[in-house]
C-alpha cells in the first residue's frame, strides 16, 4: 500500500490532520489501535448548559463526518506499527492488524454478549454510538482459549474469535505521530483514595458517565448533592515527574461543575485548586459567573479517607491554617494528561526523542520532531485542550504538506 502520509492515531488530532492534508491535496492512512476512531474525545460529554460552553467535544463529530466522506483518507482500525525503515526519503512500515471480532454490520447491538462475558472490560460499548467491541488484552479466549461465551450467545453470528493478526506493508513519504495521551492514573497518588474510598472518581469517568447517561444522582437521603473537584491531580507535581500544567483540568472541572448544577439543580459543587487557569475569552467575567455556582477553595486536600458516614472525607488547610475536615457525596479527581506508555517505543521506531516532560518531540508545541519526515500532532507532544489540539493538527498538516511539496520540487532528501 502506498500513501503520502501515515498518521499513527485516529483520535481528534490524527483525524483533523488527515482532513487538512486531504484539503491540501494529499492522501493519508490513519492507523488506529482501537476498533473505533475518536480516541478520548469520543468519551467526553457535551458541557452545554443553556449555552455552549466551548469544550470542543463535538468537534470530533465534525471531523468524523468529513473523514468518512473523503476519498483521500483511509483508516485502519485495530492496527499497530511493528517496524519502520526509511530509505531514500521513503518510509516503509510494517503494520499488524487484528481481525474484526464483532462485525458491525451483523451485530444488532442487543448486548447479550456483554451480559454473559465473565471479564469486565473485555467487551465494551463505544460511548459514541453503542457499537460493541472486544478488547483482546482482557479477553480469556486469547489467554487460554477457555471462554467463547459471547460467540455462543450471539444469535446474529456476529462474533468471530478465531484468526490472528495479519501484517501489511505500507510506503509513505511522511509520518505523523498522533497517538494521544494517557489520563493520569490516580493510583499513583494513593492519598487521594482512588480505588479505596467509595465515591472517589476521576474527571474522565464523570465525563463518560454523563456522556452515556449513566450518572445517577439518586433520590432522597442518598441523593448526590455535594461534589468536590480536586485539581492538579497528576499535574504541577515534580515529585511524581509531572512538572507541567495539563492545561485542560481547570476548564473541564468548572464546565463539569456548571453542567451538573444545570442538570441537577440541587447540586452543590466545590473546587479545590492551586491557581485557576484561563480557558475562555473575557475570563474575568466568566470566572465571576462560575464562582457564583461553584464554591472555590484555594487548597489541595492532604488526604481523602472514608468518613464515618462512609462518604469520602477530605482533610485540607483552611484560611486560618486550621485543619478542615469536610465530607462530600462524590469526589472528582481532575486527573491530568500524562504521556502514553506507547510513546517510548513509538519514539524508538521513528527516531524521535522525548521532550522534558516525557512527551514526544520538542518544546513549545512544535510539530517538527527533528527526525526528517516525522511530525507530531496533538497530545502526543504535550497537554492540550481539544481546540488547541485542532490548531496543532492544522499546523502539523501544514508542515507536512510543505515538506511533501519540497520533496516534489527535489529540495528534500
Amino acid at each position: 500500500m502506498k500513501t503520502d502520509a501515515v498518521i499513527i492515531g485516529g483520535g481528534v488530532a490524527g483525524l483533523w490532520c488527515a482532513g487538512e492534508l486531504a484539503r491540501l491535496g494529499f492522501q493519508s492512512l490513519i492507523v488506529e489501535k482501537r476498533p473505533y476512531a475518536g480516541g478520548h474525545v469520543g468519551r467526553y460529554c457535551c458541557k452545554a448548559t443553556d449555552q455552549c460552553q466551548r469544550c470542543g467535544a463535538c468537534l470530533l463529530e465534525d471531523v468524523l463526518a468529513e473523514v468518512e466522506k473523503s476519498d483521500r483518507i483511509n483508516c485502519l482500525l485495530r492496527a499497530n506499527v511493528l517496524t519502520a525503515a526509511r530509505t531514500d526519503g521513503l518510509f516503509s512500515l510494517t503494520l499488524s492488524q487484528l481481525p474484526t471480532r464483532i462485525h458491525p454490520d451483523t451485530c444488532n447491538r442487543c448486548g447479550k454478549c456483554l451480559d454473559v462475558c465473565p471479564v469486565p472490560g473485555a467487551l465494551e460499548r463505544s460511548p459514541s454510538d453503542n457499537t460493541i467491541f472486544l478488547n483482546e488484552e482482557s479477553c480469556l479466549f486469547y489467554k487460554d482459549g477457555t471462554c467463547q461465551a459471547c460467540a455462543e450467545t450471539c444469535r446474529e453470528n456476529a462474533v468471530t474469535l478465531e484468526g490472528s493478526a495479519g501484517e501489511l506493508q505500507v510506503n509513505a513519504r511522511v509520518v505523523v505521530l498522533a497517538s494521544g495521551f494517557k489520563a493520569f492514573d490516580p493510583l499513583e497518588k494513593p492519598r487521594f483514595g482512588y480505588g479505596r474510598v467509595p465515591g472517589v472518581i476521576t474527571g474522565l469517568e464523570l465525563d463518560t458517565m454523563l456522556r452515556t447517561d449513566n450518572f445517577d444522582v439518586g433520590q432522597g437521603e442518598t441523593e448526590i448533592r455535594s461534589v468536590g473537584f480536586i485539581q492538579c491531580v497528576g499535574s504541577r507535581d515534580p515529585k511524581i515527574g509531572r512538572n507541567y500544567c495539563s492545561r485542560v483540568c481547570c476548564g473541564y472541572a468548572l464546565r463539569l461543575a456548571r453542567l451538573l448544577r444545570h442538570r441537577f439543580p440541587g447540586m452543590e459543587p466545590s473546587m479545590f485548586y492551586m491557581d485557576i487557569q484561563t480557558f475562555d475569552r473575557d475570563f474575568e467575567r466568566r470566572l465571576a459567573e462560575a464562582s457564583r455556582e461553584v464554591r472555590l477553595i484555594r487548597a489541595i486536600p492532604a488526604e481523602i479517607r472514608v468518613g464515618s458516614d462512609n462518604r469520602p472525607e477530605l482533610i485540607y488547610q483552611g484560611p486560618n491554617e486550621q485543619r478542615v475536615f469536610e465530607s462530600f457525596d462524590v469526589v472528582v479527581l481532575s486527573v491530568g494528561i500524562s504521556p502514553d506508555p506507547s510513546l517510548a517505543s513509538l519514539g524508538e521506531v521513528f527516531g524521535v526523542g522525548a521532550n522534558q516532560d516525557s512527551f514526544l518531540g520538542r518544546e513549545h508545541d512544535d510539530v517538527c520532531t527533528g527526525s526528517s519526515g516525522v511530525f507530531v500532532a496533538g497530545t502526543a507532544q504535550g497537554p492540550k485542550s481539544i481546540e488547541e489540539t485542532v490548531s496543532h493538527a492544522i499546523r502539523t498538516a501544514g508542515e507536512a504538506a510543505s515538506y511533501l511539496k519540497r520533496i516534489d520540487r527535489g529540495e528534500e532528501s
Partner: protein, 535 residues
Amino acid sequence: MKVPPLESIFLNRAPRPEVRDLHRVLVIGGDGTGRNLAARLTREGFEVLLVGDTDDLQLPPGAGLLREATVREVQGFVGGFDVTFSFSSGSATERVGLVVAAQPAQNVPKYTDYGIHPAERVISLSELEAVLRSGGALIKPRGERLHVVFLCGLAGESDPGLFARVFDAIDNLCKTAVAQPYVFTRHVKVAASGLERRYREVREGGTLFFKFDAAGPVFAPTPDGLTIIFTDPLLGLEMELVPDLLVVDEYHQPPSSLKPLLDAIPSAAVTAPFLQPESTRFSGVRTPKVGILALGAARDNFGPDSAESDIAAAVVAASTLNLDENPPGLPGPPVIDPAKCTICLTCVRLCPHGAISFQKRADVDAVSCMRCGICAVECPMQAITLAPVAGEPDIMSKIAAGLAQARGAGKITAFLCTRSAARAMESAGARIRESFSPIVVPCAGTVDPLHILTAFREGASGVLVAGCHTGNCASIYGTVLAAGRAEQTRLMLEDAGVDPGRFMFTTLASNTPGDFIRAVLKLERNIQGIAPSES
C-alpha cells in the same frame, strides 16, 4: 447574544469578482507576526502585500510594503477584495485575494485599574521590556538590591503569555542588576509549554510570589514613588513594601485598526471587538467571511506559542480555500427575485458570512455563501429562495412526503440542523426513528414558520425544530433567530387553533443523542396530553 442591529449596515458595494485570484495576500500588521507570516506565505508561492509600520526593512523578495498606510475599507469577496488605504498624501485601492489581520495587540497598562499613575518608578511591562532590550539604564536602587514588583493579573485576569513575558523580564533583569523581584498576582497562569517549569525556576531563583484571594494590595503614594500595603496571603501578616520599581501589567486589546474588517463581516457586530467568534466552529484563524483571516489579537489568542501556531494556520487556510460554487450535498445559493426585492437590505445586514453585496440590487456571492438560509427566511418580502440539494425535492414536498409515509406515532415532523441534530439523530439508534419524519436543514435559522404550519396542515401531530446550542451555531446567530421565530410560531399556532404544545424548539449538540431522544419523547408526551378533539 444579539443579532446585528439595524444601524449596523456597512455596504459591501463590490460585485462578485468575475475572476478570482487567490495569489495576492494582504497582511495587515508590520510587527513580528505579520513579517513572519509574509515570509512564510512568500515561500509558499504567494505574493504578499504587507501593511504596517515595521523597523525591519528586510522583507522577503516579492513582498510589497506599504508603510504609514491605514486600511479604510474592505469591499468585495474572496479572490477579489478591493481594499482602500489612506496615506498622508491621499488614498489608493488595491485588489487582493485574501485579507489577513495580523496586527499586534494594543497593550494598555492597567494603571487606572490599580488606582496608580505612571511615574519614574512606576512603569508598564512593555516599557520595562524596551529598556531591557535596548540595554538602557534602569532606575537606581535605594539600597543594595533593586526591589522590583510585578503586578500580574491583580486587577483583570491575566494569561500564560503575560507570565512568560514576566519570567523573561525577571531573567533579563537579574542579568543586568542585583535584583529582588516580587510577583503580586491572583492566579499564576502556567497553561503553556514549559511554563510551570519556568515558574518553579523563577521561584527557586529568589523571586517572591504573593497570590491574593480576596483583598489585594493597596498603593499609597510617597514623595518619590509609592508604598504597597498588603496582608501576606500565607502568613496573614500586615506588610509594607517600598519598591524601587513597580511594573504594571497590561490588557491585550484588539487594535482599533480592525474596524474596517469588522465592518466587512456583518456578524462581527456580535463578535466584536474580535474578528473570529469564540465558537469552536471556527478553527484555526478562520472568520465567518471566506477570505478574511484573523491572527493573535484579532482572535484573542495570546499564549507564548500562539503566534507560531496562528501563522501556520494562516498559511494552511490560504492554501485550502474552497472556491467551489456548487459544493455537493448543499442547497443552491440564494436567488433574490428582483421583482419582489424592496432593497430593505435585511439580507445584507443579517448574512453572518458577509456573502451579500449591494449594487442596484442585493447580490449573493456563491463562494462566500454557506447556505445557512437565514436570508431566505428573514426576507420580509419572501423574495429569496434556495434551490434544494441537487437531486432532492424542495422542502415543502419533503414535508408532505415524509408525513405521507409515516404511520401513527411517526407523525412528528422534525426539522434538524445538519451540524448538530441530524448527527445526534444518526447516533440515536433505529428505535426512535419510528417516532418522527426528519427534514435535515442547513441551519435551524432557516426554518420558516410557513414550513411548520405546512407540516401541521399536511397532518403532522407535532413539529420539532432542533438546532445547535447558542454559541455553537456555525451561522453565529442562527439559533437565536430560530428561538425568536419559535415564539412567533407558537402565537401563530394559537391563532390557527392548534395547541402550541404540539411544537417544540430545542438546542443540542451532535454528540448528545440522549438529548435528542429525550426531546422527541417529551414532545410525544406533550402531544398525547392534548385533547384528541384538537386538530
